[in-house]
Amino acid sequence: MATDTKAEHEDLGFEDINKYDFRNEEKYIFKSRKGLDADIVSEISAMKKEPEWMRDFRLRSLDIFNSKPMPNWGGNINIDFQDIYYYIKPSDRQGHSWDDVPAEIKDTFDKLGIPEAEKKYLAGVKAQYESEVVYGSLQEDLEKQGVIFTDTDSAVREYPDLVQEYFAKVIPPEDNKFAALNSAVWSGGSFIYVPPGVKIEFPLQAYFRINAESMGQFERTLIIVDEGAQVHYVEGCTAPKYTTESLHSAVVEIMVKKGGRCRYTTIQNWANNIYNLVTKRAVAYRDATMEWVDGNLGSQLTMKYPAVYMMEPGARGEILSIAFANKGQHQDAGAKVVHAAPDTSSLIVSKSISRGGGRSSYRGLVKVEDGAKNSKSSVVCDALILDPISRSDTYPYIEVEEDEVTIGHEASVSRINEEQLFYLMSRGLSEPEASTMIVNGFVEPLVKELPMEYAVEMNRLIQLQMEGSVG
C-alpha cells in the first residue's frame, strides 16, 4: 500500500555523532606554501613520490594553465591564484578534530540525519569506527572480481600502466583553464576500474574510501568501465563540505566501453564562499550508456557541465541535473552531449530553483557531427523561481552538422502557483511547508533517480534551503 519510502526513512534515527570517540591527529605533516609555480608543482609531485611522467605532466599543465585566459562567460570568477594553498597532506586535512568543525556544520549534519560514517568524511575528520570493517569486506568482494576501487594517488603508484593509459585522455589539460589547473596540482579523487562483464550491483560510494585522500579541492577521478561491465558510482557530499579553502576544481574522466554502463551520481552542497569549477566528461563507445545525475547546492559560483561524447553507434548519454541557487549564489550548470556516431541518443533534463536573490543558469550544448545519422536528442529544462528578486536564464546551444536527426528542446520557467499553495494550505500546511512540498515535487522526477538515502537527504536539504537555515 502506501509505500511512502521517503517518509518511512524518516523514522530511522541515526545515532548521535558526539558519542563517538574522535582521535586528534597531529596538526599537519606537510603543507606547501601559498601560491602556484613550477617549484610548488614539483614539490607536490615529489611529496607523492610520483613517477617522472606524472611530474612532467603536471609541469606541462601548469604552463597551459598560465597561458590560458580566464573564461569570459559563465559567472564572475574573482580568484587570486597566488593566495591559495595547493597541497595539504591528507593527514592534515583529515586530521581535524570534531571540535574544530564549526557548530553550524555539525548542526546541519544532525538535521540531515546523515549516516555517521559520512558525517566524519564530510567534516574531514578521520576517526576509528566500525565502518572500516564494512569497507574491508566490500573491498575484498570487489577485488575478487578484479575491480579496482582506490584513490587516484594510490592508483598512480599501484597500477601505473592502467593509469598512464587512460589518465587525461578524456580531458586533456588543454581543454580549459581549470582542467589545466587541476592537472597541475591534482590530489585525491577516486580511481575505478571494472573489468569486462563485471556488473557491480550496489552503488560504490566515495565515503567508503575513508582511509584515502578524499577531501581534495583538486580531486581527480578516473573511471574505466570495460566491455559489458556496469557500475554506479555515488559521490555523496550532501552536507556542506567543510573546507577552509575557497576554490574547488575537480576533474572527472570516464570511459565506458562497448556495451558498458556507468552512472555517476553527485550531490554537492558547498559552503557559500566556494568557487566550484568542475570538468566532468565521459566517452561512450558502441551500445554503451553513460548517465550523469548531478545535484548542486551552495557555493558562491558553480560552473559544471557534465558531458557525454558518443563515439560509436548505439551509444547513449543522459544528464539529469538539479540546481538550487539561494542568496548570493550563482549556479551555472548544464550539460554537453556530442553525437559523433550514427544511432546515438541523448537526454538532458535540468531542473533549477532560484530563491532569495540566487541565480541559476542552464547552459547546454547539443552537438551532432556530420555523419551521425539517426541521432536523437531531447532536452528539457524547467526553472522554478521562488521570488521576484531571483533569476533564471537558459543558454541552449545546438550545433547540428547532419540532416537526419531528431532534436527536441523544451524549456519552462515558472513561479510557485498560488492555486497549488492555497490547496495545500487549505489542508493545514503552513506556507513554508507548502512551498517546500511544491519544490520537492518539482524536483521529484530527478530525485527519484537517486539512491534512497540520497533522495531522503536531497529532500531535507531542500527543506533547509527553504527555511534559510543553510546559506
Binding site: D4, E10, M425, R427, G428, S430, A434, I438, G441
Partner: protein, 272 residues
C-alpha cells in the same frame, strides 16, 4: 454550547468585481445544509472566501468559527481550526505523493500548534489508518503513491477529496459539487461515506445540483443562492422542489437578484 460557523452580511469581490452581496448563514455542528442555486450565483465563491483563497477579497461582513474571527486567520489556520472544503476543481501538485501530502495534512490538522519540521504522525500508524479509510471508500491503495490529483479522472479527484475529508475529520465541511463527475455507484458510495464520516460530528454545507448526495445526508436546511445572495431558505422539501421544478419560481419571486445573476453570467461569458 453548540459549535457554530456564523456568516453575517458577507460581501466578496474578485478582482474588484462584487460577487457576494450580503450572505447570512449559520451552520451548527451536527447539521446538514444544502446550498443550491443556478450556475454563477456565487456558491463556490462563498466556499472559497470562507477557506481564505487569496483572490477572493472580503470587502465587508464577518465570519465567526466558534466565536473566533475566521477572517483574521491564515488559510492553514482555518484548516487547523476545523474548516474544510472539498473543491469543485481540486489542484494537482506534480511530484507530491498523496501519502506524503495526507500525512502532513493530517498531522497539522490534528496538532494545530505544530511548527514546521516537527514530527509527523508515525508512519506505521498513519499507513494503517490511511489504508482502512481507502478500503472504506473502495479506493485502490496505489492512489497513495500517485502524485496529488495528477492525471486523476474527474471522479477520482472527487473521491480523493472525500478521502481527505475522512482523514482530516473537520468540524465544518463545505462540499462543492463533490457529486459531479462521479458515476452512479460512486455517488451512492460518496453519499453514504459522507454520512458516516459526518454523522452528528460535523456541520456540513453541501453545494450540489443533484439529489443523490442528499439522499443519505438529508438537509436540515436548504438555501437558494441567486445573484450573490441567499434569497430563500427552507427544509429538505425545498431541495426536492428545486430538483423537480428548477429555478423558475425563485427567479420570478426575486427579479432583482435574478437580473444580477444574469448580468454576472453575461460578463463572464463575454470576457472568456
Amino acid at each position: 454550547m453548540t459549535e457554530t460557523l456564523k456568516i453575517c452580511d458577507l460581501h466578496v469581490s474578485v478582482e474588484g468585481k462584487p460577487i457576494l452581496k450580503g450572505v447570512n448563514l449559520t451552520l451548527n455542528r451536527g447539521e446538514v445544509h444544502a446550498l443550491m442555486g443556478p450556475n454563477g450565483s456565487g456558491k463556490s465563491t462563498l466556499g472559497l472566501a470562507l477557506m481564505g483563497h487569496p483572490r477572493y477579497e472580503v470587502t465587508s461582513g464577518s465570519v465567526e468559527l466558534n466565536g473566533e474571527d475566521l477572517l483574521e486567520m491564515e488559510v492553514h489556520e482555518r484548516a487547523r481550526a476545523g474548516l474544510f472544503m472539498a473543491f469543485q476543481r481540486p489542484m494537482s501538485i506534480p511530484g507530491v505523493k498523496m501519502a506524503d501530502f495526507l500525512r502532513h495534512a493530517s498531522t497539522n490538522v490534528r496538532n494545530p500548534d505544530r511548527k514546521e519540521g516537527e514530527d509527523l504522525i508515525p508512519m506505521r500508524e498513519f499507513r494503517k489508518e490511511l489504508k482502512s479509510k481507502m478500503d472504506q471508500l473502495k479506493m485502490d491503495t496505489q492512489f497513495a503513491r500517485r502524485y496529488v490529483n495528477e492525471g486523476f479522472s474527474g471522479g477520482e479527484m472527487k473521491r480523493a477529496e472525500i478521502l481527505q475529508l475522512a482523514m482530516l475529520r473537520p468540524k465544518f465541511a463545505i462540499l462543492d459539487e463533490t457529486d459531479s463527475g462521479l458515476d452512479a455507484d460512486a455517488v451512492r458510495l460518496a453519499s453514504t461515506s459522507i454520512a458516516e464520516i459526518g454523522g452528528a460530528e460535523m456541520g456540513i454545507l453541501i453545494i450540489t445540483h443533484h439529489e443523490r448526495l442528499l439522499e443519505h445526508n438529508r438537509p436540515d436546511y436548504t438555501h437558494v443562492m441567486l445573484g450573490g445572495r441567499i434569497v430563500e431558505t427552507g427544509g429538505a422539501e425545498l431541495a426536492a422542489e428545486l430538483h423537480k421544478e428548477g429555478y423558475g419560481r425563485i427567479r420570478h419571486e426575486h427579479p432583482e437578484a435574478a437580473a444580477e445573476n444574469e448580468s454576472m453570467e453575461e460578463e463572464t461569458t463575454a470576457s472568456s
